[in-house]
Amino acid sequence: MSADQKPLTVVALLAGPPGPAELWTLRRLAAAGFSPRVVQARRLRKPGTLKHLQRIIARQGVLGAISRILGSLLFGRCEEVHRMKELGRLFGIADLTLWWESSGLPTESVPYLNHPDTARVLCRLQADLLVRVSGGVLGKEVFSAARIAALNIHHGVASRIRGMWSIPWGIIEGRPDWIGATVHIIDDGIDTGPVLWCGSPQLAAGDTGVDLFFRAHVEAVEALVVCIRQLATGWQPVQEAFRCNPDYRSAPGVLAWMKYLALARGARARVTLERSLRC
């Protein structure tokens, strides 16, 4: 960037307190010199679970919705604690928390990310680039508030799999081609926007879903920094048409959870063990 150029205004969108992966992203953005401004939502989504439930039923059917809720109650919450503990170890949460507390990054608080206040705050900040660090699906009024683009890291290979929990789904369904991460521009769909970067970690015996998420995230954050620098220079990404219609998966149900745990969270899965074969 030349001296007379105005520095980019990068705004990071967060929902709730940042976890280890989110802190890693924020610290890397700050270390790359983007001085991100943070817009932090106090909660994940608009209050009122009925609409959310209706949406799940419409998408997954009644049985699917019941399975999803049961899966979350029986396994999801407990697994999330385990996952956060593991990610905390891998990302070095103690150091990241210290950094976050002393970073002094300017933070704006909004009720939730799709609240009208968010768009107002983004206009006031004159955001050049938005980075969705955490939170749910963004509404158009939010992601279109950025002058250049709104970016997201999808933890999965977007040309093959869309939606949440893509890496564990790859383990469960034996699809190594789903495991990876994608940096893409946010559009109306879920993980359907133009792809700026896509990569996959190596799969090896003993790798768990958390290991793969961690390695994919570390690599994706480095790629995100490169993408932001390129976008700042006026780079226009070319959207390549996906060769196949990507699959879509949402939160897991009871059976998916049971299979994931039976596969030792990936350590005993075919997708990881098979990588040691065929030589």
């Binding site: 170890r89 891998l90 190596q202 090896a204 015996a205 570390v218 690599e219 040691s276 065929r278 030589c279």
Partner: protein, 307 residues
């Protein structure tokens, strides 16, 4: 009693098309080297790595033993090699090329010094956690925790310092084989494909350049591997690629993924034999690469795949 048990196991594994064992050592004193060789020599015939391809399809006769030493520590050249030479035992030394070039202690020796200095293991600095990180992140974390502490240095110890390239050449001239073991001892499956392949290719190139002979062997640092990386090692010239799966070498094993049984200097003769006997039953010993007993499934799948 233990000798009887070992003999019985040897008979069984021979019937199960077992060819022999590859032993993975790190640092041994002269006395420990002698003790290990004497214990192994009772049941095995020591071979040179170039004999491996001809011994693999042949499970008849006395089982073989190939001795390997990892990392390239100075004590390999000053303690083990002279004793092995005196006893006429061949061996294969895997050297970490960047370690020999810059002389800086390997990451796990720096880690040991850091924990000794701190007196406790901070959260996020557990050895098992560090082994799951890419090398850049791992090195950064060690650096961050080392800041503000003067570490207890062991870098003058022959079990921490590297041998010199002159010593490597001398070992080669004495008839020992030299293999590559990565540039930085990074755990290659944690790296991106490009970095992992570059580590393999560069370390093999460096060994070839320093010894003047084509490097024909590669050992995965910490034992973690994928078939894709093993194939890259073969493409780079390796004829023998070894892991740390604690099992006997079987006649159907691929030369690019050979198991090795890890021994330590403190192991007594009876413990060595017990460990080797247990390794005959795959899935009993845990793989020191951190993947536990999953190698059992890999080897079973591999057997099915081959047949």
């Amino acid at each position: 009693m233990l000798t009887g048990l070992a003999s019985a196991v040897l008979g069984l594994v021979r019937r199960a098309r077992s060819c022999g064992v590859i032993i993975n050592e790190h640092t041994l004193t002269q006395g420990e080297t002698r003790r290990h060789v004497e214990a192994l020599g009772r049941h095995f015939e020591f071979i040179h790595p170039h004999e491996l391809p001809s011994r693999l399809p042949n499970a008849s006769g006395r089982p073989f033993c190939l001795l390997t030493f990892d990392d390239g520590k100075k004590s390999n050249a000053t303690q083990s090699a002279p004793e092995l030479y005196r006893m006429g035992i061949p061996a294969l030394f895997f050297v970490t090329t960047g370690f020999l070039d810059n002389g800086e202690p390997l990451w796990f020796d720096r880690y040991a010094a850091l924990i000794e200095t701190l007196g406790y293991v901070p959260r996020g600095l557990e050895r098992e956690t560090l082994k799951r990180l890419p090398f850049g992140v791992l090195a950064g974390r060690l650096e961050q925790f080392s800041r503000g502490h003067s570490l207890i240095s062991r870098s003058d110890s022959e079990d921490v310092a590297p041998m010199s390239w002159d010593e490597v050449r001398r070992l080669n001239q004495l008839g020992f084989a030299i293999g590559a073991h990565g540039v930085r001892h990074a755990i290659l499956t944690r790296e991106t494909r490009e970095v992992a392949v570059a580590e393999i290719v560069e370390s093999m190139r460096r060994v070839s350049a320093e010894t003047g002979a084509v490097c024909r062997a590669f050992a995965f640092p910490n034992g973690n591997y994928t078939a894709e990386l093993a194939q890259h090692a073969v493409k780079a010239g390796a004829r023998v690629v070894v892991t740390t799966e604690p099992a006997w070498v079987k006649s159907y094993d691929s030369l690019c993924r050979l198991p090795r049984i890890q021994l330590f200097g403190s192991n007594s003769a009876s413990r060595i034999m017990a460990k080797i006997a247990l390794a005959a039953a795959e899935g009993v010993l845990a793989n020191p690469d951190g993947t536990g007993r999953s190698y059992f499934f890999v080897r079973r799948m591999s057997r099915r795949f081959k047949s």
